[in-house]
């Protein structure tokens, strides 16, 4: 994803993190998407800028043969290549408040540069060849307000038509009403019908329903495979470091690249992780001393920092919920492809609600933290509240409280940002991490005393 080199370099082989070989081809798929989209644009074919939409939009777009890029993902590239600042400045100069989402600001700045300063051409400083000018802007109402307001704001620079996908979202107790699922699915199916009618009108061609069915099946297989990889990551020592997850998540999170190819690569990854588990090979090259879960989005601009922690035996064994596809629901009895799609997407949001309710946790997101801590036997959480991301940061204090109070799992609280590297202080963080090791040791004893098994 963001630490985007095409192939494993010699320097990486020396890193304290023991990277999976199967990660690299998956990582390259997203780079291929940028190139394919540029080529399509050069050939006069339509291209899409989309927000992560948890599959309800990705698959219809792909079935219509559209090339898609995700500005949210491109922003991680801007951050990790140190290219974000001029685009942030451009956003500021056009009047967007500086406290907004760093992803949003950087791609608003990119759009400003492209349309107001470059006459519609890609800014020459854009990494990976840049994002081609969009002919459709697809926002999404899922997860955060920025996902649709940011895309509406992009309409300031492009005359491309816009669409906003809907997705229900609510609290645990309302989200478990007995008749809720059918009512939500009906809503989503109607929205998808309207979206597809819009696409057909825009492109002047009909939806390829057979292709859509095929892609839904591939999506289910991809998610089933990634789910199995996630299950294997519970092993001790943890076989796969978070860095490998972040690098390989785009083909699962938004189906970057060709999906049949991605499925093959994930199957390779599953085999490699399985082998590591059998041989007790860890995701770091030192002995695993601490099993850490990362929340939420990492500092893309400072990923090398994880090597420093790996040298101290910190193995980042898993990451928070929002980037993992859950095990797909059973769709075998569903015949309508749009209903399949609605259920697949909806499952991402609502699969945790019943467990949260049973556990007496009001916030389903908090329940995911508890579940992950238990299942992955976390010694600690690395909490990374982001100065510019409300969605990823708002619930972290509550998660921190519940983790400590219910499970005696402590958290290291490190403020930072996904884009703005100035707010992340690696020296200070390292000093605090060293002190946090004592905290983790202490709570290990407390957990044992309380009858917990890790």
């Amino acid at each position: 994803m963001s630490d985007a080199a095409a192939t494993p370099a010699k320097t990486e082989q020396k890193r304290a993190i023991n990277r999976l070989k199967s990660m690299y081809p998956l990582r390259n798929l997203v780079a291929q998407d940028y190139m394919d989209t540029l080529q399509a644009s050069n050939e006069g074919k339509p291209t899409v800028w989309a927000m992560l939409n948890y599959w309800e939009g990705d698959l219809p777009l792909k079935a219509m043969g559209l090339n898609i890029v995700y500005p949210e993902n491109y922003s991680t590239l801007l951050a990790s290549t140190g290219s974000a600042e001029p685009f942030l400045d451009a956003s500021d100069s056009d009047g967007y408040p500086t406290h907004m989402c760093g992803y949003g600001r950087s791609t608003i700045g990119y759009s400003y540069r492209m349309m107001k300063e470059m006459g519609g051409k890609i800014p020459p400083e854009a990494p990976a060849g840049g994002m081609a000018r969009p002919t459709l802007l697809l926002g999404s109402g899922i997860i955060c307000d920025a996902r649709f307001k940011w895309f509406q704001a992009l309409g300031r620079y492009f005359d491309a038509p816009e669409w906003c996908l809907e997705m229900p979202m609510m609290g645990t107790f309302e989200g478990t009403e007995p008749d809720l699922e059918g009512y939500q699915v009906k809503f989503l199916v109607k929205e998808l019908q309207d979206f597809i009618a819009f696409l057909e009108k825009l492109l002047g061609k009909k939806m390829d329903w057979a292709r859509l069915e095929e892609l839904i099946d591939l999506a289910v297989s991809i998610h089933e495979t990634t789910y199995q990889i996630s299950e294997l990551r519970k092993a001790i020592p943890g076989p796969m470091h978070s860095l490998d997850f972040w690098s390989s998540m785009p083909p699962s999170l938004f189906f970057a690249g060709d999906m049949a190819t991605a499925l093959k690569f994930y199957q390779d990854m599953l085999a490699e992780v399985k082998e590591r588990v059998a041989n007790k090979v860890a995701g770091i090259n030192t002995a695993e001393k601490y099993r850490i879960v990362f929340a939420e989005l990492p500092p893309w601009h400072s990923l090398r920092f994880f090597d420093t922690l790996a040298e101290r035996g910190w193995n980042f064994v898993f990451e928070s919920w929002g980037y993992h596809a859950p095990r797909p629901p059973d769709l075998s009895k569903v015949s309508d492809p749009l209903e399949k799609l609605a259920r697949l997407s909806r499952n991402f949001i609502f699969n945790i609600h019943p467990t949260a309710k049973a556990d007496g946790v009001a916030n389903p997101l908090v329940e995911t933290f508890l579940q992950i801590a238990r299942e992955y036997k976390a010694d600690g959480y690395f909490m990374h509240p982001l100065i510019s991301c409300r969605a990823a940061s708002a619930g972290l204090r509550t998660s921190q409280n519940f983790l400590l109070n219910r499970l005696n799992v402590p958290s290291l609280w490190v403020e930072g940002d996904i884009i703005d590297k100035r707010v992340f202080n690696p020296q200070e963080t390292l000093a605090r991490a060293e002190a946090f090791e004592q905290t983790m040791e202490h709570y290990r004893k407390v957990r044992k005393a309380n009858g917990l098994d890790w």
Partner: protein, 390 residues
């Protein structure tokens, strides 16, 4: 009413200064008080169930302390203030609280309430779709039905069509009276100040609807019949933005030599401009709240399915109600204010400023952190802006 002798603007000020006083009295008399956050929980349903809706605000003068234990500092300070007050027990007169997914943090507030504020027996979160698509209105109507069912369980009463229709009429009457109140600021000089106007509105959010309507009738009569203390000022401003429930900003602007004659905020016109249209059922409420309230939290387009889009046409469809306000209130400048970390309003700012430019209306954007102390540095900028309107 609160006292036999106090009415009109004096009563509004009294309620504004102690918002919980009247509902505490009513609670002692056996009424149940349901707090609600933001504009989207339909007050008509609460009233129709025989409950008293009480809009929950924060406190700009209370330092946030307890909320720091449960939320990060990079989220809306208005909502942080509310949860802070909740944890401190300052809403202990509420029997319940209702929120809506008007923004992510707003929805999260109700969820946090369940974890950290134990006073309220009833909590409910209404999901609000992001678009005004036809399917979204139907979905939202279903959400209102869930809310209705939950309140029926809570009260043991059924919500009949007649009760709902009567409550809609009462609240529509209030909206009509508020529009009359705003008409009083159309003349030059306006007949009341923006601070007085806000005190009345905040009072309305703190009283049962029938008492609020009586207050409004008295205020309108009082203002029409008293000697106008306002003076003509060269700047007639529109103030835009999310919640602002404290007179301090208006006092700051008016002390800079301007009159705020109209607003587009969720304590002001947004709350009162749209009526519920017949037949006064849940679908009518869904239409009013999701489609007719013009808040940036909803994604609007000139034509949702249009395949050729024009930015200017898009802006016109999103902001044309502001054009009308500019004309009707003879506005010659606009102040866009926002609480920090408000995404739904923040993304709107350059686009709205562009639209105002096309109307020939200069604008100023200011940000604050929902504390009175954060307004002080803004004063110089406001004064300079007002000066340019001369």
């Amino acid at each position: 009413m609160v006292t036999a002798v106090t009415k009109g603007l004096s009563l509004a000020k009294e309620v504004y200064q102690d918002r919980g006083k009247r509902v505490r009295e009513l609670r002692k008399a056996g009424k149940k008080i349901i707090g609600y956050v933001c504009l989207y929980p339909p007050v008509e349903i609460i009233t129709a169930m025989g409950l008293i809706p009480f809009r929950v605000f924060g406190d700009m003068n209370e330092t946030i302390t307890a909320a720091d234990q449960v939320s990060t500092t990079v989220v809306c300070p208005f909502l942080r203030s509310i949860i802070d007050l909740g944890i401190k027990g300052k809403f202990n007169f509420l029997d319940g609280i209702v929120g809506a997914h008007t923004c992510d943090i707003g929805a999260g507030l109700i969820i946090q309430w369940r974890d950290y504020v134990k006073d309220a027996a009833f909590t409910h979160l209404i999901d609000v779709p992001h678009t005004d698509h036809a399917a979204s209105v139907d979905y939202f109507s279903g959400q209102l039905n869930s809310f209705k069912r939950h309140l029926e369980e809570f009260t043991g009463q059924k919500l009949t069509d007649d009760k709902l229709a009567k409550a809609v009429e009462q609240h529509n009457r209030q909206r009509q009276l508020v529009r009359q109140l705003y008409d009083l600021r159309k003349p030059d000089p306006p007949l009341l100040s923006s601070s007085e106007n806000l005190e009345v509105l905040v009072a309305l959010f703190s009283l049962p609807v029938d008492e609020g309507n009586e207050l409004l009738e008295n205020v309108i009569e009082e203002v029409k019949n008293c000697v106008n203390k306002q003076v003509s000022k060269k700047a007639r401003l529109l103030v835009w933005g999310p919640v602002f429930d404290n007179t301090s900003l208006y006092e700051l602007i008016e002390s800079a030599g301007a009159s705020v004659v109209v607003d587009d905020t969720c304590v002001g016109t947004r709350a009162f401009w749209a009526d519920v249209r017949p037949p006064y059922d849940l679908q009518s409420l869904a239409q009013r709240y999701l489609v007719d309230i013009k808040c940036p939290r909803t994604y609007r387009q000139s034509e949702p399915a249009e395949t050729a889009r024009s930015y200017d046409k898009d802006l016109e469809s999103r902001f044309n109600y502001i054009r009308k306000a500019v004309t009707d209130w003879k506005v010659n400048g606009a102040i866009l204010q926002s609480v920090k970390y408000c995404d739904t309003h923040g993304y709107e700012v350059p686009n709205l400023r562009h639209y105002l430019d096309t109307l020939g209306i200069p604008s100023l954007y200011i940000e604050h952190d929902y504390s009175e102390r954060s307004l002080a540095p803004i004063k110089t900028r406001v004064e300079a802006f007002v000066e340019t309107l001369g």
